[in-house]
Amino acid sequence: MLFYKAWIETRVRFLAGLVAAAVVCIFYLEQHAWLVSMWAADLQNPHGYHMKWMPLGIHEYGWYLWHYLYDNYLQQVWALFAILFAFGGLIRERNGGTVLFSLGLPVSRRRWLFTRLLVALLESIGLSLFAVLVIAVGSAAIHETFSLSQVLLHTALMVAAGVFVIAFGNLCYTLFPGNYLSLILTLTLLGAPYLWLQTYMQHMRYLGRTPWIGYLDFAHTMAGPWQITWTTTPWMALLVAWTLTAFLLMATVAHGDRLDY
């Protein structure tokens, strides 16, 4: 019943997420032929743009999928909806005036929280798997083949590192439950440090260093390398993401236990 309640609360967001993920995937699958022809024309033209990645983009469809979807747009759409799935729960019910009905049930606050988070996680997994389905159907439609195992590994990596986003979104909503505030605040709290981190990491890469703070570059972790193997998986960064997720969940539980509804 708790799962069903959480599902009822978030199903519209989930359906909107499916539409958004489908739009992003279809758009970049549709653009593939045009982009490849443009890059090929550029490479043949001595005055055109010659980038190191262009041969990869032309000849490796797997790289194209990874670059445009898992390293960029699908990842961003997925993260946005994972945050939205994580919003809600008892705090939202308090604002709506119905929380006492939920708290009157013989269910602990922690169980409410973790059921809600589990549904958010399942919906996030569902969203990422739906994207794989769209990629498979879309790639068949444009007569391109790709490694399904690589796409599934990228999906798994995106979700595995992205659990941090779910926990962070839920904590932000618990702490700042005002109308619409939590959404823009979560985006700011994730986006602003991310931009600073990118600036710093870009500088460090230019100097040829890999500082420890690179482990906090979760967008980079979620994307991973374009060909994932056991050795190229960013295990240390994943461990950091999971540790921080655990801390965020502990903070949410502690705050939720103390809250006077």
Partner: protein
């Protein structure tokens, strides 16, 4: 002691009557958290884009010596025509959300409607506050560009930045009006943000990727038709025709929102 309760304002037609200031304060209190959050996001992005520009430009110009990229082109293409504009749209849309429909869901709409202020004024004052906040986003982030450019050894004309900021906010009234409209249509906390942001993002990326073609509000916001193709700086006046169309669309959206508010049974 005699206590007199009256709903008859002593200056019913004066716009800046005490009640208008109170409603203004209420709208500001409702949206200030969102305002400061979005402002930090916009400012962070501008700082990031300006600080990383020397490295990007030197790498680009070394790689393509025959296609030198000017700093003014970098600023217009990367900021006013793309990422800053996109973030401004996000911020302006988010601060426009709220209002009576949302208050109805949380059960406080009757307190607001109990005030001696017409629904029209409640809506217009909230719209003014949202618009003022959107103007602040546009001008603050635009002015930040020439200021920060000096610190990284580049220069960007102050009045050019101001003009692009003004163009973005003037045409962007459509986005604010769209946010106000959606927030009076949907009562759910997440329905209007999800519906609005998905729609705006799809249209924005559609035009930027040239999947959608033709006249669009985003080109008017970045003054695409009024710039020099080489320097991508404003050459003359604004595209007044485009701005007028944006203004008319905004008026239609605001009128529709007002009609929805008047017709709704709270």
């Amino acid at each position: 002691m005699e206590i007199v309760l009256t709903t008859n304002s002593s200056h019913p037609h004066r716009f800046f009557a005490t009640e208008s200031i109170s409603i203004c304060w209420k709208a500001w209190r409702e949206s200030r958290g969102r305002f400061f959050s979005a402002l930090v996001l916009l400012a962070s992005f501008v700082v990031y884009a300006v600080i990383t520009s020397p490295g990007f430009l030197s790498r680009y110009n070394t790689r393509f010596p025959d296609k030198t990229l000017l700093y003014s082109v970098y600023v217009w293409t990367g900021l006013f025509h793309y990422a800053l504009q996109g973030l401004w749209v996000l911020g302006a849309f988010i601060v426009a959300l709220g209002g009576l429909a949302r208050e109805k869901t949380t059960g406080v709409a009757l307190f607001t409607l109990g005030l001696p202020v017409a629904r029209r004024n409640l809506f217009l004052i909230r719209a003014w506050v949202a618009w003022a906040e959107a103007v602040a986003f546009g001008l603050a982030s635009a002015v930040l560009i020439p200021v920060l450019s000096a610190f990284v050894g580049e220069s960007y004309p102050f009045f050019q930045a101001l003009a692009f900021g003004a163009s973005m906010t003037a045409a962007g009234l459509v986005v604010v009006a769209f946010g106000l409209f959606l927030s009076e249509i949907f009562e759910g906390e997440f329905t209007s943000p999800v519906a609005g942001l998905c729609t705006l993002t799809a249209i924005f990326l559609g035009y930027r990727a040239h999947t959608l073609r033709g006249w669009n509000v985003f080109d008017v916001m970045s003054a695409t038709t009024s710039i020099d193709p080489k320097t991508q700086l404003l050459t003359g006046g604004f595209h007044w025709f485009g701005l007028t169309i944006c203004f008319l669309i905004s008026v239609v959206l605001l009128g529709a929102t007002h009609a929805v508010i008047q017709a709704r049974d709270f």
